[in-house]
Amino acid sequence: MKYGSTEKLLRVNLTTGAVKIETLDDELYRLYPGGKALAAYLLIKQLPAHADPLGQDNRLVIANGLLTGAPFSTASRFTIAALSPLTGGYGESEAGGFWGPELKNAGFEAILVEGQSPHPVYLWVADGQAELRDARHLWGREPAAVQAAIREELRDDLIRVLQIGLGGENRIRYAAVTSDLRHFNGRNGMGAVFGSKNLKAIAVRGHGRYLDLAYDPRGLIELGRLLARQIKEHPLGWDLYDKGTPGILGGLNASGILPTRNFHAGVFEGVDDIKWEAYQSKILTARRSCYACAVRCKRAVEVTEGPYRVSETYGGPEYEAVAGFGSNCGISNLEAIALANELCNRFTLDTISTSATIAFAMECFEHGLLTPGQTGGLDLCFGNVDAMLRLIEKIATREGLGDLLAEGSARAARVIGGEAPFFTIEVKGQELSMHDPRGKVAVGIGFAVSEIGADHLVSFHDTLLQNPDSVSFKGATALGISKALPARELSPEKVRTFWIGENWSSFEKTVGLCYFGPAPRSFIQVNEVLQAMRLATGRELNVQDLLTIGERATNLARVLNVREGFTSAKDRLPERMFAPLEAGALKGVAISRSDFQEALQQLYLLKGWDPQTGIPTRQRLEALALGWCTDWIGAT
């Protein structure tokens, strides 16, 4: 028995309607213990080269991590992966919540979806069984109604529903997938892939227990209790409970790196109206949790008066949504920002790409590249709340300008022409999350090299590792990080720190741990992660073993991108990052283009990639037990 794993893969062919249960090979699962690694492995093995991301040949993988569903805080994550309709390359998005653990309890590690259904369907998975069911009556309906209808249809109120809304049905290239209405696999357009396959939802119910899979269930229970106590005794864990992600907004503004008006500035004049203290006093109603997690970083919000009313149904805005629809669109109305977040969640649109695409459109409008005639009469200036809200609806329904913006800012810019491509803030087609690399350069390296396009959970944020005496830095030393570095230093030592962080983050995504669990971002120490792996699997692993698991997953995703024709030219930053910030504490600061290119070269060498092409070398792939894919990509 593979401890920690159900050993089962569910293969679903939507074209034929066939549903098949397969057994995951033990050795395979050791190399790719779920999540990102297993998803990348299955994709590269099953996906034909150069498939249309929105066609029937694309594959969709939903994969739990080895620790997903273990009874301790932050072990609830699962991965959705496919060829991304936004980037054209490896697409992936993680989420927490309750759906992943429920799938594990239902007896499955992963689901592989092939083909395309002739009509809308949903997949029903329960205790080792699965079947496809007609979803024509659910198509076009909102997530809350769909969840209620499925639970009623299957007569079980505890069913967990993973689904798409209008954004996925209309194949918005950055459509998200939601579970329990409040948790989101937001990035890379995985919702559009669901929609293209006519797959409306996956409903799961399981009566199994992770503890029955674990090598040492008593030990895991004890560890869970210990970690639950530690959260409130650790400043970073406690802070995530207290404020959640919106708590970082004020500090970023003071540091001069709060994205403002499409990343022109790093300081926002309306910050007092949208930062944590305002959030807490104006809209916060409750703190919510993911499976077995005592951090409770999720916010619930409500607005019952005024023009922008919001219910608790679809959860509260994270930092990304507050900054994205707030400062980056020049908007300081927190209730309207909460409504923008709710609209995205109802339509299942990624809040990051939606808000960034709107900010891009606002800049185009202010420069006369989009006219009122093209916007349908919307005065799309920065700061126009009602125009922003209306545009979200237009995107979800592909109405007018919304149809163009539904393709993402990079594609839209090519159609709009003129200076528009210079106003896009994206990498590999995916819009930047709300973090400015001019103030934390390793985040910029992550934006550039990430296989999924710009994303902020690729490695450590530089700001955490500046002071050798800080709680966060001390948490990172067990990973082999020995030198605290200024946030804007771009040195070989910083590149090495980035690489360690990239492997660590990739490991977390593989085994199903949240970014907010392990150090240095939060409270679980590295030795406790090792302990969790031992208690779950019975295997004694060391830190390097865990980093290698992460590195293997990252390389697999890179191999898939190389196969799809990606070159090192795609490892870049938006032009704006090489221009000075216009205001704030870092006014005048820009990234040096030559220093950044040099850092990328250093990183390629460190990773064992060809310094010119960025292709993983044969030697490195073989060292990672990935020799089997060298010939596919011309590794030398």
Binding site: G250, A254, L457, T463, L464, S472, Y515, R521
Partner: protein, 76 residues
């Protein structure tokens, strides 16, 4: 003096307050104030005095100042 504790710094206040009103008997250095409040200096990444980033590592504070302190910002 008005003190704002940003990021995780209010963890160190017994009542987890974000904002405190303090009366200083006499001018006090930042480090001395942090010592009084049991806030580790190493967790304070950004010091803003009266709306301006502090140019000194250990500025002198007087009654009437508005002091904003921020911890490191980790992302997510």
């Amino acid at each position: 003096m008005e003190l704002h504790l940003g990021g995780h710094l209010n963890y160190y206040d017994a009542q987890h307050r974000n904002r405190l009103e303090l009366h200083l008997q006499e001018p006090l250095s930042l480090n001395a104030l942090l010592l009084q409040l049991n806030i580790p200096r190493c967790e304070v990444m950004l010091v803003v005095v009266n709306g301006e980033l502090a140019s000194q590592a250990n500025p002198l504070l007087v009654n009437g100042d508005r002091l904003d302190l921020y911890s490191s910002v980790g992302g997510g």
